[in-house]
Symmetry: C2
Subunit: 486 residues, 2 copies
């Protein structure tokens, strides 16, 4: 570090900051941004007119319309002067139940420009508790609910609190959503991977789990928590009630805290065969013997049919957590003052949407169902598209917003990747971006079984473009295989 050089360089910053990786918005996504900007500024050298950002579950970036009722209420809360207009004027612009809901919310919130309670507005937490009770059939306590800035902030807070030392271990699925690996790196805690089985539709195997745990504990790792993503990200599988029960039995026996990432709980495409079961519900159904099993459950306004990512809203429910630890979490929440109030309002709306008989119900129902049905069709289409390509296999997405196809690349492509200094899946994904404008995330960003290659793609591009979108990828894939054939 010379006298004239910078004090802060990549070699002098926090080493965990340097080490952390987050592929969803990594180098490939930055290149995609660059191309998109270039096109917007008139660059015509690309064989497509716009980048399709399939790297991230960001529905409204890809033209998914927001739910009208939600935005109406949010808009009224923003501008309390509107509510002072004569109601007959306002009724031209807003349905009566949106006006009523905004009025009720503001009564409890005061101004949305004020810091709220650090755990979130008490009234909204009560509404979330009622939602959980309706969903699960078991009671929920608003004092055990923390509203958060998206699920990510909740996950980070809980993982930070659990991490006692660098030897604290977290079981995480492979493949996983890289928020988990990045957070573990930043906390200098230890990831303990357990595999999901691709040839069994990405099923979890509790015996394999036990093996991963044993190996880690033998190495002296204090494995004290386990992350489950259900429905899976990037893998899209939905856990059966039996599997969840086995996982809970395993964690209870092994004294492991459960973290259940359930942000895709309404993205369930085969509800007859593969319904959503919350960990909280299954845990409660297992009776008194399991009354001490510690569980944190995460939810978000960013996914489902809501898709309000930009708002950063979510919550964590703490089940069977020590009261003194809840106080510590409250203190931590207070250091960041409060989750943004707009996100909190959306949590209220997501968990308590219009009910049958409400003026806004028909429109809400129609919008919700249209998004759901379209996502379901697109999920199947994209999986089929990939599954039928040469050298590729792809499980159906039972839930969530992604497929995670496996690709087998010819040796020449592997060699070319090596030469380019890229992982083979990253090499493939970069080529796809340059040729088609489709931005996906290489499987190496999520973890994958050694020797396998994957990528994650959302199925969020607008449905009317889907045939074209799939055809573009097929053409690219064929040409890629031709170019690198052995």
């Amino acid at each position: 570090m010379g006298k004239d050089g910078k004090i802060l360089t990549v070699d002098t910053i926090n080493p965990v900051v340097k080490k952390a990786e987050y592929a969803v918005r990594g180098k490939l996504a930055m290149r995609a941004d660059e191309i998109n900007q270039a096109i917007l500024h008139g660059d015509t050298r690309y064989p497509f007119d716009k980048v399709a950002f399939c790297n991230i579950g960001n529905p409204q970036q890809l033209q998914q319309k927001p739910i009208t009722f939600f935005r109406q209420v949010a808009s009224l809360c923003e501008n309390p002067e509107l509510l002072e207009h004569p109601r007959r004027d306002l009724l031209k612009l807003y349905p009566a139940d949106a006006i009523d809901r905004a009025t009720t919310l503001l009564e409890h919130i005061g101004s949305i420009g004020a810091y709220s309670h650090s755990k979130g507005v008490p009234y909204i937490r009560e509404n979330v508790a009622k939602f959980i009770e309706r969903r699960d059939g078991y009671p929920a306590d608003p004092h055990h609910i923390f509203l958060t800035q998206g699920a990510s902030a909740g996950v980070q807070l809980i993982m930070q609190t659990i991490t006692q030392s660098p030897s604290t271990g977290f079981l995480i699925p492979i493949p996983q959503y890289p928020l988990y690996s990045a957070t573990l790196t930043l906390l200098d805690a230890t990831p303990v991977p357990y595999y999901l089985y691709e040839n069994k539709d990405w099923a979890m195997d509790v015996e394999n789990l036990a093996g991963s745990l044993r190996t880690a504990r033998d190495k002296g790792i204090d494995v004290r928590a386990m992350v489950v993503i259900n429905p899976g990200n990037p893998t899209g599988q939905c856990l059966s009630q039996d599997t969840i029960r086995h996982v809970i039995e395993f964690c209870h026996k092994e004294r492991i805290i459960l973290l259940a990432d359930e942000v895709y709980q309404t993205n369930i495409y085969y509800p007859e065969q593969r319904p959503f079961h919350s960990f909280k519900k299954v845990l409660r159904s297992m009776g008194a013997e399991y009354k001490d099993q510690e569980l944190f459950s995460f939810h978000s306004v960013s996914k489902g049919m809501v898709g309000e990512c930009g708002r950063r809203g979510g919550y964590v429910e703490c089940t069977n957590i020590d009261d003194a630890v809840l106080d510590q979490l409250y203190k931590m929440a207070s250091i960041s003052l409060c989750p943004n109030v707009h996100g909190q309002i959306m949590v209220d709306l997501m968990t308590n949407p219009p009910k049958e008989g409400d003026p806004s119900y028909p429109r809400y129902r129609e919008e919700y169902d249209a998004i759901f049905e379209s996502l379901k069709r697109r999920a199947a289409l994209l999986a089929q598209c990939f599954h039928h390509m040469e050298g590729m296999t792809c499980n159906d997405a039972e839930g969530a917003l992604y497929v995670f196809p496996q690709i087998r690349l010819p040796k020449k492509a592997l060699a070319a990747a090596k030469e380019a200094g890229l992982a083979p899946d990253a090499f493939y994904a970069f080529e796809m971006l340059e040729k088609t404008g489709v931005c996906v995330v290489p499987g190496s960003g999520f973890g994958q079984e050694p020797g396998t290659l994957h990528f994650r793609s959302t199925f969020l591009p607008p449905e009317e473009l889907f045939t074209k979108f799939c055809a573009r990828i097929e053409t690219f894939h064929r040409e890629f295989l031709d170019k690198y054939k052995d």
Copy 2:
């Protein structure tokens, strides 16, 4: 840890989480919440009808009205259907410039329900850069600006990145805003206190600074950054251009990165004698010799005349920061996906309010000036109120939202505090809360010179209640001194 006990207890959680303290929303604030809830539910045992939350700079909680134009634009952005109405209908509810601004913002943002660029919407960052250029008279680069979820999130990100090891030291003022001490505890980094001089209107003394630095470096602490809060929190002083220049010279000579917390930059009550000078401007004015001085400057929508705390919006400008470090900060921002878009919109509005000639300008000007003048009057009133009480002295607030009076308590009060297991200033503040409903923060939460006692109070209660408010505190104080007189 028994077989049946919890895995997660205060003794097994992350030790830095357990250790962190944040007095602004600490035990006293929780007790205030409790009392307030009790009163709302009909409890009549308190000699007041409502708690005055003077513990936190939360203007809209204490009836400060939001700026109308800001909320109009935000409300239109929330509900894009409004913008599809015939303009003549909409013009009954919204002024033309609010409609235009919302339209322009949405053109650049797309949907506010989508994740934005992780550094914030590029168009808004360009507008922030223009604001800084107008303010300082020197260029600003939108690529060096990160929008953040309030200034707190920006501060935490930068401090995390700077912390290389537990021996990394940060110079922090005493008294300080406890975000800094809490963040240092959580990062396991080392605070290096420097004192502000109460009898010189909380002035900074660069020689004393050099002494603090020397002592710390002699102990092997790698002091590499310095936090300056200007205007001061909790102390309200505004730094002169000369002092800022001396601080920059000192940091440049000693190879120290500057963190300038400038969130109160418009809360300047004596602009003739004590105007605001940004560190960025003074640094640029010092010419080429200082072109390597690294500086992070923070701003927020929560303070000033905006007061939109609940929205969690802010930004950090990075001056003379290594490009590779900027890339690392971008990566870190991407792990949290993006700052909430509502906060970003408010940053745009705060930095680019209506201009003279715009339809909304007269109302904006009137609202802004009314808030400013009222804050200025209340600042002076509250300082006078405290200054004239027996055993109390209080500097005027030149800026920010707080006064920080010093109290001298009789020995009997000190003994009673000891018996209650409380710091004397906390004991006093608890008594004040129970007797008057006024919630302040004990000086021990900010740090204070050993042997002195203080508390911080905002001057945010509504002006029409101010005489009553001051009288209530005076009566309490007299009775307290009577009760404990030696």
